[in-house]
Symmetry: C2
Amino acid sequence: MIGESRPLSPDELEAALRQIGAERYHSHHPFHKLLHGGKLTRAQVQAWALNRFYYQSRIPAKDAFLLARLPTPELRRAWRTRIVDHDGDAPGTGGIARWMKLVAGIGLDPDYVVSTRGLLPGTRFAVDAYVHFVRDRPVLEGIASSLTEMFSPGIIAERVAGMLANYSFITKETLAYFTPRLTQAPRDVEFALAYVREHADTSERQEAVLAALRFKCDVLWAQLDALHFAYVDPGLIPPGAFRPELEK
Amino acid sequence: MIGESRPLSPDELEAALRQIGAERYHSHHPFHKLLHGGKLTRAQVQAWALNRFYYQSRIPAKDAFLLARLPTPELRRAWRTRIVDHDGDAPGTGGIARWMKLVAGIGLDPDYVVSTRGLLPGTRFAVDAYVHFVRDRPVLEGIASSLTEMFSPGIIAERVAGMLANYSFITKETLAYFTPRLTQAPRDVEFALAYVREHADTSERQEAVLAALRFKCDVLWAQLDALHFAYVDPGLIPPGAFRPELEK
């Protein structure tokens, strides 16, 4: 808890935000270590790609809710690039289309994935919680919740290198989603972090901003919990969710 | 999938609803078998009671969102009893107060539980998904999502008998929450089932009603997944959630 006293300086606030990442970012989750270390079967990687698709697919909705509530053309232009990054400017472009290359490249039926019929309920609840958070909470908290991207370049670099080295069914082409993220994420962070440093200028707002980032870490962590529980250990797949052995 | 053809009769619809329970109700979850069979430690039962508190505590909110959208005094009076059941008519009465007796009886700090600080994110996301579903979806689907109560008297009878027999730290007094539910749930089901049988009169509405009950089964199942994963197997407690060994 931050005391009742003076607010943190912007640098102290940023340090507190980074500390949350150091403690709670999903890079610490055992599923990630298995994924990057080549310890998963193709079916387990399929389950990851299928569930993570839902997260990717809802990001533009999350960003559109925030866009709708930003007050100036300047702010909206800056935030709009996120939607462009995910949805592209033409068929076959953008982050979601690149994610579908991964999905198809590892042998999943894209229509099945897009239908979300095989999604884990835990994934759906966590992702929807994120979209609703950004829709319903103050803009400052919505922006702060995006700051998990401060921690993503490290994990992405690790993931791409590890997955390419360790899985014969993964190619540079199937991982095309991640390459642009290495430049997009830092640019997005620069904007969001500057906004948060400027606007979180009371202890109360700083608490809210830190809570928003903790919440977002929970959203990412819970998705890996659900995957790990269903497909790794103890391997209890909930009724109706993707069952690799039933797929061709 | 129901065909494009004729809608089901009310009896066929009810049979299809009961079939969903037979396949997807959380009585089939391994955590329930452990809980009722006396296979859990006191700390694991604490984790269950702490997380389940959040579900109980949000039920009146869920019911109030539905109440707000019911069109007639008759319907609202019928639905209002659910809120009275949970919130009581005086301090210390109602289902939530009885749940707090369980919480205190097994050695949890009630203030800590009410704060939800130790809640599993997976619990919060699943419960919030339920509240939002009832707030945002058509009234018919909101009512249908309550129909998991069709299956609850069996599980409650099993739970009370099993927990009393198997845990020295559980008494009839601490399980006081469940006794009234054995009469409240059938009364609530009678109303909700009659409503659904009458109003789900097209194939499309019947599909929606069946999907709503499947969704609700997912909400209950995902809560046990999160508990089982964090506190039983593999026992990976997410950052910030209740850690029994840190409690007195």
